[in-house]
Symmetry: C2
Subunit: 228 residues, 2 copies
């Protein structure tokens, strides 16, 4: 279907490209990174809405304002596009996590005290909710629910990022366990906690429900015991 009208077919002497015309955006070839980013955002949105398997590369191209073959100029194949979405999502999550912790630590220091494990926990949960539910939050849900479609190599690449994201939580949960604020095996508790948080992408409706601060407070009360 959709046989393209080949308007510009025969002897068309290369449109002589005079190198002085437009100083910026020369042949719209090497200014991408922009276009690549648009592709990633479109892919993330569609992969999340419809699933990887139900989204065609044509869908993505159209959503990014391109023709059907063009995504393959930026990505080797459809799976590489999926992997890039996930890596992009994890990198931005890592950044958000680090900056949230830095800010909190700095604020505490300005008040002349250090962050308690409980406060660390709150900051991490809050940052995680932002990653999951905040603006540009299609990337991580795609990672959570489409990893089956990755090759083994791509999967272990994404897992590296995920491990370093989770590693930040480990000492915090251990400290909470040591203080008696968190019961049971911290590793198991971490799994349960991530499950509880990640599931929110399935039901959270920003229009009708609580704010991310409300959610965070709930999680803290639900998972942590009072210290006394």
């Amino acid at each position: 279907m959709s046989i393209e009208t080949d308007v510009s077919k025969p002897s068309q002497a290369e449109p002589v490209r005079r190198a002085r015309g437009r100083p910026r955006k020369a042949v719209h070839e090497r200014d991408d990174g922009n276009r690549r980013q648009e592709l990633l955002r479109a892919a993330a949105r569609l992969f999340r809405q419809q699933g990887f398997g139900a989204t065609s590369t044509r869908d993505i191209a159209t959503a990014a304002g391109m023709r059907s073959g063009s995504p393959f100029y930026h990505f080797e194949n459809k799976e590489a596009l999926l992997a890039a979405v996930m890596q992009e999502g994890m990198k931005s999550a890592l950044q958000r996590q680090a900056s949230a912790m830095d800010t909190a630590v700095a604020q505490a220091a300005a008040c002349g005290h250090t962050l308690s494990a409980r406060e660390c926990f709150r900051v991490l949960v809050r940052s995680h909710f932002e990653v999951l539910l905040g603006p540009d939050s299609d990337f991580i849900p795609v990672m959570l629910y489409e990893w089956r479609s990755l090759s083994a190599a791509q999967r272990s690449e994404v897992n590296r990022l995920k491990d370093s994201y989770e590693a930040v939580w480990v000492p915090v949960l251990k400290a909470l366990h040591a203080s008696g604020e968190l019961h049971g095996d911290p590793a198991l508790a971490r799994m349960m906690l991530f499950g509880a948080l990640n599931w929110s992408v399935q039901w959270y409706d920003p229009a009708r429900q609580a704010t991310l601060d409300d959610l965070t407070a709930s999680v803290v009360h639900l998972f942590l015991k009072r210290l006394e």
Copy 2:
């Protein structure tokens, strides 16, 4: 779509089915239910492993020992097969939940006391883990992670079953909240709890990790406060 072959339209004297030929397995037509079940199990396994979009109806047919066109004798289309997997999973989950509660109530009665909310909670969590991780546990993960591929009508059908499954938990969580064993909004706690439990299908390895009883005990300790 799907124009039914109106075989029995005009003057077609009903294909006289001689009731005496072969007593069992007459024309291998009406002894299915067996084959249908095999299709469902194969579909559940493949949908879970590879995802709905990445699984072809040919894959499923082969796994069930059929030819490529045969699944469509049992199911109108691929989506109907997916919907059937989910409904099958939810019906069996509802049965397991009901029988677990019945057994527990009967046992308590035999000992001359009633089930506490905490004991109810434990029974429900344990039954849920069995649904998620026990034998024949491909159906529910498919429901959890492939509902995007359902039509709106199919989705609301599945949601009816899911709602009645969750409804059993509501009074239990309310009682736990009333007694101070569960903090925060019970509805929100239910979401978090299901997230924590359902996530286990992503990491639980029966070979290397705790038993379902261990998991259940962990969840009880993690989510419920001591009553004193």
